[in-house]
Structures are given as C-alpha cells and as structure tokens.
Amino acid sequence: MAPTLILSRALSAIVTLFGVMVIVFVLVRVVPGDPIAMMIAPGASDADIAALRAHYGLDLPIWQQFLVWLGQVLLGNFGTSISLKQGVLTVILERLPATLELAVFALAMALVWGSFIALVSTAARGTLLEKFIDNFNGVMLAVPDFIWGLTFVLVLGVFVPVLPISGRSDPTIDAGLSSQFYILEGVLRGKLLFVWDVLKHMLLPAFTMSFPLAAVIGRVLKNTMMDVMVQDYIVLARIKGLSSLRILLQEALRNAAVPALALTGVQFTFLIGGTVITERIFSYPGIGNLAIDAVINRDLPLIQGLVLTFGAIFVAVNMAVDALAAWLNPRLRHA
C-alpha cells in the first residue's frame, strides 16, 4: 500500500474511534438512572452523596466530564469500575485475552470451514453433493447463533457429554501461567495438556460463533469461485496439465479470495459482537460476559471502557483486512 493510503486509513480510523467515544459518552451520560443512588447505603447524608459524586467527577458539566475522561483515557487511565471497585483497564486487560483467543479461534474455524464448503461444492459443481452443501449452508445461515449455541450445549454437553460447556479451563488444573493468554503462553511453555483442556473448553463456543460466518464465507467464496473457474487463465492452467486440486487451490482460490475476504472483515466484527451472547451461554470469562454484567449494574466507566475496546478491535480488524486484501490482490498494491 502506498504511504498516503496508509495515512488516510489511519486518519479515518482515528476519526471513527473518536466518533465512537463521543457517541458512547453522550449516550451513557443521558441515562435516566443515577449510579450513585445504587451505591450509597440507606441513610447517607447529602454531604456524603455530594462527596461521592465529586469523587467520581459526576458533578462537573458534561463536556468537562468528557474532556477529563478523554484525557484520562489517553493517559491509559480508564477510571474505576463502580461495581467491581477496580481499575477499568485492569479489569478489561484481565478478561480481554480470553475473548481474543476465542475470537481468533472462531475466525480460524470459520475460514477453514467456509473455504472447505466452497472448495468442495465448487469441485462438485453440477452434482447432488453441490445441492446438498448449498442447502446445508442455507440452514446454517438461517438459524441464529443463539439457537446454535444452546443446541450444542444440549446435544454435546448434556445428552452426549463429550465437551465442557462452561468456563475457560478446568479449575482443578493449575498451570501456573503469568498471563491470561492461556493458549499462547501454554504453547510457549510447553504445557500441552493444559492447552488441550483450554481448547476443549473453547471448541463449542468457537463453533457457535463460527457457524454463521462460515456459511457466509462459504456462499460468497463459492459464487466467486464459480465465476473464476470459467476464466481463460483457468482453462490455460488445465491445458498446462495442472491437476484439478492445484487449479482449485493455486489458481482459483487466490483470485476468488479477495471479495470473500472483504466480507469476512465486516462479518468478523459481527462475530466479535457475537462473543457477548456466546460467552454468556457458555459462561466464558471474556469481555462479552463482562459487558452484560456492566450493563446490568449500570457500571458507566466500565461500559465506556468496554465499548471503546470493542471499537478499537473493530477498527484494527478492518485495517488488517484492508492490508490483507492489498497483499492478495497485486493490482490494488500499486494503485
């Protein structure tokens, strides 16, 4: 990518993030409920309430509260969670790795699963197998992930209990890790048994989140593959005597991948949004589950911190996808 393009992308990312911050702040500060009212003990004096108010900066005008908050955020201080009485940044950083590992795992599954669907149905075009895969794909897409997740809980967790359906790891195993990146650190330190346990816990939630994404990737990738398969260079590749598998993977997939990838970027943000429900269903200790508790407790600093975190992730994902698309499509790289 040309430097000017990178610069303009980065600038628009900053603008987007700032917009998210402003919107969240404004939205959250017009909440009818009063968070202080929930914290005070019955019979607290007005002075106590005022002191608490001042302590959390809730007595200042809105725009000052925003500037104060913005300054604090830029300094890395996200404030203190009202419900957990802990620094927001500390709380989020403790839970974020769990969500990131889950989301990346789910994305990888969706990509593998979706590409597999697309490749098989392209290779089987014109046969019954193609029809079957298309219909199966339709079902995957039509049923929401909420229902998928609970169905997996029932079938694979309860009726045929092969996989764990709650938490992130077996609490009886103490791996003695120093970070929250269980998989990353576990692999680096060679604690493979622990990693295996974490993976088992991640399998069903990741499967749930990957289902709709895999269906979308499968459908779009297959459609573009079908268009690519009739191109002259594919015909020539066949005349060069390349095998069908090689043509599919080396010649067609890369050209068909760009539109599918652009879509994956948008859908990945939805997948991350989906962590909220999925983590709840599987009692998974990530930031999605945290977000719901924050909303239930009306924990304003935490909500803001979380939404900002989600916003930052969305922006980062979109930039990464742009970069990847440029790498895959040489014509874009020089544009």
């Binding site: 969240v24 939205l27 959250v28 017009v30 909440v31 009818p32 409920g33 039509a142 049923v143 929401p144 909420f146 229902i147 609970l150 169905t151 809980v153 029932l154 967790g157 309860v158 009726f159 359906i165 948008v266 943000t269 939805f270 991350i272 949004g273 989906g274 909220v276 429900i277 709840r280 269903i281 977000a291 719901i292 924050a294 909303v295 239930i296 009306r298 909500i303 939404v307 989600f310 969305f314």
Partner: protein, 271 residues
C-alpha cells in the same frame, strides 16, 4: 390464493401462537407464576398434570411457555411495525427526493449497518434501562435500516417508471405521487421484510431476556426460561429444551412466511 405451502405453514403456526397468547389464561393448565416447591423439577410425564414438567420452583413449564407468547408476539409485532414505518418513511424520502436527502440518509444507513447490532442493543438497553419498552426501542433503532435500504432502492426504481412520469405530467403533487402511486408498488417488498423482521425481533427479545436485560424476571419469557434452564441443565433439561424448540419454530415460521410471500408476490413485482 397463495399456493405456496410455506405461507400456510408459517402463517398457521404464528396464528396458533397468537391464539395461545390471547387465550393464555383459559388454556394454561396452571398459573405460570404459581410456585410449588414440593413438585420442583419434575420431568415431563412424571406428573400427568404437568405435561412437559416443572422448573426449579415447581412452576408449570407449559403454562409459562404459553404466557411467554404474549411478550414474544408483542415485541415481534410492535417493534417490527415501528421499524418498518420509520425505515419505509426514510427510505421513500431518500429514494424519491434524491439529492441531499438521499446522500444524508444513505450515509446514515451505511454508518448504522457497520456497527454490530448486539453491541448497539446492549448499549441502548444500558441507556434506556431494562423493560419491554427498551427492547422494542432497541430493535427499532437498530433495524430501521433493513427497511430503509430496500425501500430506497425500490422507490428509486419505481420513480423512474413511466407511470410516475405520467403522474408528474398530470400535475400531481410530489406527496400524492409518493403515497398514491409509488407506495402501493413497494408494499409487497415491505410485507416480506416485515415478516422476516418479526422473526429477528423474536430472537432479539429472547436474547435480551436470556441475559436479563428485558422485562423483569417475574414475567415469563422464552429467553428467561432458557436462562433458567441453562443453570439447571444437568438436573432438568426440559426447562431449556421446550422454550428453545418453540423459539426455533417461531423464527422458522416467520422466515418461511417471508420466503413464501417473496415467492408469491414476486410475479406481481415484475410487471
């Protein structure tokens, strides 16, 4: 008469739910809130009077399932209709007036749709507080774009057709043309979207009740029942299974109805 069986199947199931919701007090075997700790977590068939069992507080699952139709259908009909009205209005404005209106509304739709709906709905409920009004408001605020986007494109297309030009030549006002000439031609598309949106609204309501951000836990909802069932899943799977299956069938019914309507109305769209 539509021949597509999906319309009959989907519509029939929804009608069944509607009747259950209206006559809930008459057909429910028990009071959905009545607790009976002596007959808690009874499996289906264990006690003939509790056909599909009881939950951890001894409440009758079937009765709760029936009463929960009320919340689900209220949210489905009200939220989807309001989202439809808002989206259709803005979509028609953008599609018919064009220019600055179109640019503004289209940009708004793009920004809106880039934001993951789950996050937006949680943020909105956080702002508005829990309760059925917030759930409905969240659905309307998020999903008006679904209507606006399609209606805008459809209106744009209709506005280019000859009959609209003829009406303009006859000196009809823009408002008259929009509502008398164009709207009737966009209605089939809106009906299809409306049906699909109701299915979405049912799911969103269930999710928000599941995480405890919808109506208070006193009122039976499918999502609330699923949340309870999830907690006692190893002791009483039926508390989760029956509302889940009902939810699935309801969503399926709205989808099938929508798809059926699309198929049925399609030849009318291609005049």
């Amino acid at each position: 008469m539509p021949k597509d069986f999906r319309i009959w199947l989907g519509g029939g199931f929804i009608l069944l739910l509607l009747l259950a919701a209206i006559f809930a007090p008459l057909i429910s075997p028990f009071d959905p809130l009545e607790q009976d700790l002596l007959s808690a977590t009874m499996a289906p068939g264990q006690d003939p009077s509790h056909i599909i069992g009881t939950d951890s507080l001894g409440r009758d699952v079937l009765s709760r399932l029936i009463f929960a139709c009320r919340i689900a259908l209220t949210v489905a009909f009200v939220a989807a209709t309001l989202a439809c009205l808002a989206g259709t209005f803005l979509g028609m404005l953008a599609g018919y007036l064009g220019g600055w209106w179109d640019a503004t509304i289209s940009r708004l739709i793009d920004i809106w749709m880039a934001f993951p709906p789950v996050l937006l709905s949680i943020l909105l409920v956080a702002v508005l507080g829990t309760g059925i009004h917030s759930v409905i408001a969240a659905i309307v605020v998020i999903d008006w774009t679904r209507f606006a986007r399609v209606v805008r494109a459809e209106t744009q297309q209709q506005a280019r057709l000859e009959y609209t030009e003829a009406a303009t030549a006859l000196g009809m006002s823009r408002g008259t043309i929009l509502f008398r000439e164009i709207l009737p031609n966009v209605v089939p598309v809106i009906l299809v979207l409306l049906s699909l949106e109701m299915g979405i609204a049912v799911i969103v309501e269930a999710i928000l009740s599941f995480v405890g951000l919808s109506v208070s836990t006193d009122t039976p909802t499918w999502g609330g029942m699923i949340a309870e069932g999830r907690q006692i899943i190893y002791q009483a799977w039926w508390v989760l299974v029956f509302p889940l299956v009902t939810l699935f069938l309801t969503v399926l019914a709205f989808n099938q109805l929508g798809d059926g309507l699309r198929q049925w109305l399609d030849p009318m769209l291609k005049r």
